[in-house]
Amino acid sequence: MTPLPLAQKATGWFFQPVALGRVAAMRFLAGAFIWVDWWWYMPWIIGHRHVPGELYQPLFIARVLPVFPVPNFEIVVGTLVVLLAASVPMMFNKAPRLFGWIVAIAYFEWMIIAMSYGKVDHGKFGFLILLFLLPTMPKARWGDRRNLSEHVGWGFNLVQIGVVCTYFFAAWAKIRYGGWEWVNSATMTWAILRRGTEYSNWLLEYPGLLRLSQWGMVGFELLSPVVMFVAAKRLKYGIVAFFYCFHLTVFLAVEISFLPHMVAMACFLPLERINPRELIRNAPRLPGLIRRKLKARKAVPAQTRPGEAAREAEPAS
């Protein structure tokens, strides 16, 4: 069978190889988030160790797969200990596949403990997909831009689809539950009344602006899949930067940060370009490097030769 050119193009895009350095960076970010999560982002989960089992309401998945025990003190604390212990070697690339699986399974159980008492929080889908894909990816070094993998490319594509779906289906849910009038409702007013900050309380006096922000939100959520198909890298990173700015704004306004979602979203970025060792080695010269880059950008074509510029910088140490 000869695939159609369009199909060939689509699979080419879908399995576009990605450098392994990005895997190392994402492992570090995922592990770092787990260490922040339990005491800062969702500190209430560990509180469930006190709650009697009668108030546990198993979710669909726990009813279908009867492997999740009813949480009690030992299970809640034990899950957290395993999760934290396994995330350290994963972060620092020691047997990252084995510990990656342990982290993925422990974090999933941690989410079951969190969400099975009558309230489900959203916005963690991309992060969960990321945790389950990382252990399928090979061991990797920071800054490795030479070794490429189709599997990794697909895996991060899947995480990106998960991230984009979170936006797209969030708009869908607003229309399903709030109706089309959601965009003109008082939802943002209500949110700021409940959780407003010094950065957002002034907005209560401008309900028109809040309504406009609701239109903007639904608009960008429905359009978010575009980011998957943008070929121009600068535009793509620009859209991702816009997503991050959106979350920063929401955090300043109502102190909701969707942090795990933001961690998952990092796989849009060329993190394989980061090499911490090189960064540390170059740190003392960094201001000079940046200045030279900016100069080079302004003066096209570059008017200083690299040899001359290097002389200005202080030698390291």
């Binding site: 879908f14 509180g47 709650v51 989410m111 008492y117 959203h122 697909w154 689809i161 399903r176 008082a186």
Partner: protein, 154 residues
Amino acid sequence: MPKDVAEPPLTRRGKLARIAATLAMVLALMATSLWGADDFFPFAPFKMYSHAHDPDGWANSTSLILTDATGRSFPIGDNDTGFRRAELEGQLSRFREDPTLLALVAEAYEDAHPDSPEIVAAEVRIVSYELRDGERTGAETVEIAAAWTEGDAP
């Protein structure tokens, strides 16, 4: 430093399996967003702030008030028992049906505060505020959705 391991390109079967997995994920998200409920976590409709709030309606606030053996009554926050307010609201119909379930919340509080006096009573109080153009008019109603006192049959 680990040796560079050359990754073989994906086979045709490998690619098909991955495409199938991707389609399955998107379809599951789509289906649960259309018809699903929170029960389908980690799928489920992503309904953060998806309800439309009527600026001319009623806004309510639920609180849980415990009374200890010394007679002191106090509202509790999310961190006092580990059972959050949103979770209480999520299971409110159970508490309305069987107020003795509040004994479990009291138990959670005692478990989290072993040195505090025993809890002898608990109630779920819902205060509703009337809104006009998104502002409180001052009118409010108070409802006791469930109440329990030590000694009620569990």
